[in-house]
C-alpha cells in the first residue's frame, strides 16, 4: 500500500522535475540572446551594468542581453567546463589571475584584431592588460582594476601628534609606536594580518623587483631567496610585528573581519580595497569625517611601494556562435563612458589611465596615484594555482610568525618555480 503511494509520489516528482528541466537553455542557444557571465562583487550585480547594455542596444536593438552572475567558489572549474560545453556563455568575466588558464586552454577567442576598436586600448593599465595576452595575442580585455591604499584615522593621528602620513616604511614603524602608546594590547598601529600577502608581497617588490621572472625560453624561476628579496621579507617581518598585534600573525582579512577591527577602533591604519571604507562606515557611522587615505610608503620617500593591481578581465568564448555580437558587448564594457561609471559609482579603477574622471572620490584618486608604481603578478596559469592553494597567504604568515626568511624562501622558490613551469604549460 505504502509502496504504491511512494511509487506515485516518485513519478509525480520526476514529472515535475522534467517540467522544470525542459525550460533549460544553457549559454547562448537562442539566436537573439547574448549570454554574459559576470562575477559577483563587480559591475555585474550592480545596476550600473544596465548602462553597458544600453550602449550595446544602440547598435543591436533586437538582441536580448542575459546577464548571469557567478560565484567565486570553484569558478575555475566552472568556467573551464562551461566554456568547453556545447553551449557556452558568449561573454565571460574572469579574475585577472585566472585568465591565463582559459587562454591556455584555447577557450577564448583571439581579440587582437578587435583590440584597436576598444576605447583607448593603448593606455590600458600594464598589469591588467598583460594578463589577457598570451604569446603576443590578446585573448581578454581588462574590465576594471583595483588596488589597495592605506585607510587611516585622522583623529588618532592628530591625538598622537603625527602631522602627516608616513612617507617611508621606517616612518610607518615609528608612527605605529606613537599610535600604540597608551592603548590596550589588542590595538594595532596598522592592522596587518599575517596572511595578507597583498600587503607583504609589495614590501618584497619594493626591494627586489619582481620575484618570479621568465627567461627567453619561457621558463619561470622564482628568486625569493635572493639577498634583496630576503631583505624585503625581513622588513615585512619587522613592520608586521611592530605595527600589528601578535594575534594577527596567522590571521587573514576575514577572520577576524578587518573592517570590523578597524570600525571598532582597534587599529589606526589598515590596507584596504576599494569597497572596504564603505563597509567600515556601515559598521561605525561615527567615523564618517575621521577617515583619510594615503599610498603605502616605500623604502625611500621618493618612491611608494609597488602595488599589485588586481581586477577582472572580460573575454569572448571561442565556441560561441555570436562572435561579433560578443565583441560589441566587450567594446561597450571597455568604453570610456562605462569605465567612468565604474569609477564614480563603484570606486573601481578604470582600465585606462586617461579615463579617471575629475570628480572621482578621494580614495580612487589616491589609488590612481598608487598605481603609478605597480608590479604585476606572474602572467602564468600557475599563478591561479598558487592562489587557490593559498600558498602566498601561508608563506607570508609564516614569515610574520618569525620563521627565518632565508630558509623559508628556498622552499618557496622550489614550489613556485615548479608550479609556474608545470601548470598549463603542456
Amino acid at each position: 500500500m505504502r509502496h504504491r503511494v511512494r511509487l506515485i509520489a516518485a513519478t509525480a516528482a520526476a514529472l515535475a522535475l522534467a517540467a522544470t528541466g525542459c525550460s533549460g537553455t544553457g549559454g547562448g542557444a537562442d539566436d537573439k540572446t547574448l549570454t554574459v557571465w559576470m562575477m559577483t562583487g563587480g559591475p555585474g550585480d550592480s545596476p550600473v551594468i544596465a548602462d553597458a547594455t544600453k550602449a550595446f542596444h544602440r547598435e543591436h536593438p533586437d538582441i536580448t542581453v542575459d546577464i548571469q552572475v557567478q560565484q567565486w567558489d570553484n569558478i575555475v572549474t566552472k568556467l573551464t567546463t562551461a566554456l568547453a560545453s556545447g553551449n557556452p556563455p558568449d561573454v565571460v568575466e574572469m579574475g585577472n589571475t585566472q585568465t591565463p588558464i582559459q587562454s591556455y586552454a584555447g577557450a577564448l577567442s583571439d581579440l587582437s584584431a578587435a583590440r584597436s576598436t576598444f576605447d583607448d586600448s593603448t593606455h590600458w593599465l600594464g598589469g591588467l592588460a598583460a594578463s589577457g595576452v598570451r604569446d603576443g595575442r590578446t585573448y581578454a580585455a581588462p574590465l576594471y582594476g583595483g588596488t589597495k591604499v592605506v585607510l587611516y584615522r585622522t583623529d588618532m593621528f592628530a591625538k598622537a601628534g603625527i602631522g602627516a602620513p608616513p612617507t617611508t616604511l621606517d616612518e610607518l614603524v615609528t608612527d605605529c609606536a606613537k599610535l600604540r602608546r597608551g592603548r590596550p594590547g589588542t590595538f594595532s598601529g596598522m592592522y596587518l594580518p599575517g596572511k595578507y600577502w597583498f600587503a607583504g608581497m609589495p614590501v618584497v617588490f619594493g626591494k627586489a623587483g619582481p620575484v618570479a621572472t621568465r627567461n627567453a625560453q619561457g621558463r619561470w624561476s622564482s628568486r625569493m631567496s635572493s639577498p634583496d628579496a630576503v631583505a624585503g621579507l625581513r622588513t615585512w617581518q619587522r613592520v608586521q610585528n611592530a605595527c600589528s598585534t601578535t594575534a594577527s600573525v596567522g590571521a587573514d582579512t576575514n577572520s577576524p573581519d578587518q573592517d570590523q577591527v578597524f570600525a571598532d577602533g582597534k587599529a589606526a591604519m589598515a590596507y584596504v580595497k576599494a569597497w572596504e571604507p564603505a563597509t567600515v562606515l556601515e559598521k561605525n557611522p561615527k567615523l564618517a569625517d575621521k577617515l583619510g587615505y594615503f599610498v603605502m610608503p616605500g623604502y625611500r620617500a621618493s618612491r611608494t611601494l609597488p602595488v599589485i593591481v588586481a581586477g577582472s578581465t572580460v573575454g569572448v568564448a571561442a565556441a560561441s556562435p555570436h562572435q561579433d555580437l560578443a565583441k560589441a558587448y566587450v567594446r561597450a564594457l571597455t568604453s570610456r563612458h562605462f569605465q567612468q561609471e565604474l569609477a564614480t559609482k563603484l570606486n573601481l579603477l578604470p582600465v585606462s589611465s586617461t579615463f579617471l574622471p575629475a570628480d572621482a572620490p578621494e580614495q580612487l584618486k589616491v589609488a590612481a596615484k598608487a598605481v603609478r608604481v605597480s608590479q604585476p603578478l606572474p602572467n602564468a596559469p600557475g599563478e591561479a594555482t598558487l592562489e587557490t592553494e593559498r600558498y602566498n597567504e601561508q608563506f607570508f604568515a609564516k614569515i610574520a610568525g618569525g620563521a627565518d626568511p632565508a630558509t623559508a624562501a628556498k622552499e618557496y622558490d622550489r614550489h613556485v618555480t615548479d608550479t609556474l613551469n608545470t601548470v598549463g604549460t603542456k
Binding site: 522534467a18 525550460s23 562583487g41 552572475v69 566552472k78 576575514n254 577576524p256 572596504e276
Partner: protein, 272 residues
C-alpha cells in the same frame, strides 16, 4: 524513576552543549546587521532584528533556487528510498546470481571521493548533451545515495529475523505483501535516518549543481548560500541568516518523515 530523571538530566546537558553552535548561529542571525560581531559577546539578541533575513532573502533568484533545491532533494529521497529499500531487502533475503559482486561493488563505489567523479561525469553528460538539466542532478545524487541506502538498510533488514514474514506468508500473505506489511514498519527507524541522509546530501550539494548546471535559473540553494562570501569579505549577518533559512527545510523534512514512518523512535521497541 529516579534513574530515568538522572538520564533525562544528562540528556539535557548533552543537548545544551551540542546545540550551542547552532543556537549561536540562530541568535546571531537575529541581531542587528551592524552589530553582528562584537568583542563582548551578547548571548541573547536584543533588540531582535530581521534585517539580516531581509538582506539574505532579497536576492532575486532565491525563490527559483529554493524550488530547484526542494524538487531535486525530494526526488532523490523518494527514488532512493523506493529503489534502495527493495534492493536491500532482496540482498538480505534472497540468493541470486551476481549477488556477491553487487555487494562488493556497492562498498567499493562508496569509497570514491565525490569530487573525483565530477569531471568524468561532466564529460559523460556533455557527450550526451545532457548538461544544464536539473533531473540529471537527481541521477548524480543517486549514485552516491543509492549505494549508501542499500548498504545501510541491508544491515537493518539483516537484524530482523525472517520468521516474522514467513509466519505472515504461512497465513496466506503474498511475499511482497509480507514485506510491505510486516518488514517495512520494522525498518522504519533505520529508514528515517537513511532518508534524512539522502535529503541532506542532495540539499547541501554545491559542486555538482554549480558545474553541471550552466544557466542561473537551474542553480540550487547552496549557490545562493555561497554568494554572501564574496571577494570583498564575508557578509556575516546575511550569511548566518541565510544558513539558518537553509537549514530549516531539513528540520521540516525530518519532522514530517518522523511522524509518518516512525514506530520505534518515540515508543521503544515494538515487537510481536
Amino acid at each position: 524513576m529516579r534513574r530515568r530523571a538522572g538520564y533525562n538530566a544528562i540528556a539535557m546537558v548533552c543537548c545544551a552543549v551540542l546545540i550551542f553552535p547552532v543556537y549561536w548561529m540562530v541568535a546571531t542571525a537575529f541581531k542587528q546587521p551592524g552589530r553582528v560581531m562584537e568583542s563582548r559577546p551578547r548571548f541573547f539578541p536584543w533588540p531582535i532584528s530581521l534585517g539580516n533575513f531581509r538582506h539574505a532573502l532579497s536576492t532575486a533568484d532565491f525563490g527559483g533556487y529554493a524550488t530547484n533545491s526542494v524538487l531535486i532533494a525530494l526526488s532523490t529521497v523518494v527514488i532512493s528510498m523506493v529503489v534502495g529499500l527493495s534492493a536491500s531487502i532482496a540482498l538480505s533475503r534472497f540468493r541470486f546470481p551476481g549477488r556477491r559482486a553487487f555487494q562488493v561493488l556497492l562498498v567499493l563505489v562508496q569509497m570514491v571521493p565525490g569530487a573525483a567523479i565530477l569531471i568524468p561525469m561532466y564529460l559523460m553528460f556533455r557527450s550526451l548533451g545532457l548538461l544544464d538539466l536539473p533531473p540529471v542532478l537527481v541521477l548524480t545524487h543517486l549514485t552516491f545515495v543509492l549505494p549508501f541506502t542499500i548498504w545501510t538498510m541491508r544491515a537493518f533488514v539483516d537484524a530482523v529475523p525472517p520468521d516474522l514474514e514467513q509466519a505472515a506468508m504461512v497465513d496466506g500473505c503474498g511475499r511482497l505483501g509480507a514485506y510491505v506489511r510486516i518488514l517495512l514498519p520494522l525498518l522504519a527507524p533505520g529508514a528515517v535516518s537513511t532518508a534524512i541522509f539522502a535529503f541532506i546530501h542532495a540539499w547541501d550539494d554545491y559542486l555538482f549543481a554549480y558545474v553541471l548546471m550552466t544557466s542561473q535559473q537551474h542553480y540550487t540553494l547552496p549557490v545562493w548560500l555561497v554568494s554572501f562570501q564574496t571577494q570583498e569579505g564575508v557578509d556575516y549577518g546575511a550569511m548566518i541568516a541565510a544558513s539558518t533559512v537553509f537549514s530549516l527545510p531539513v528540520l521540516v523534512f525530518f519532522l514530517l518523515v518522523q511522524r509518518k514512518l516512525v514506530a520505534g523512535m518515540t515508543g521503544g521497541a515494538v515487537k510481536g
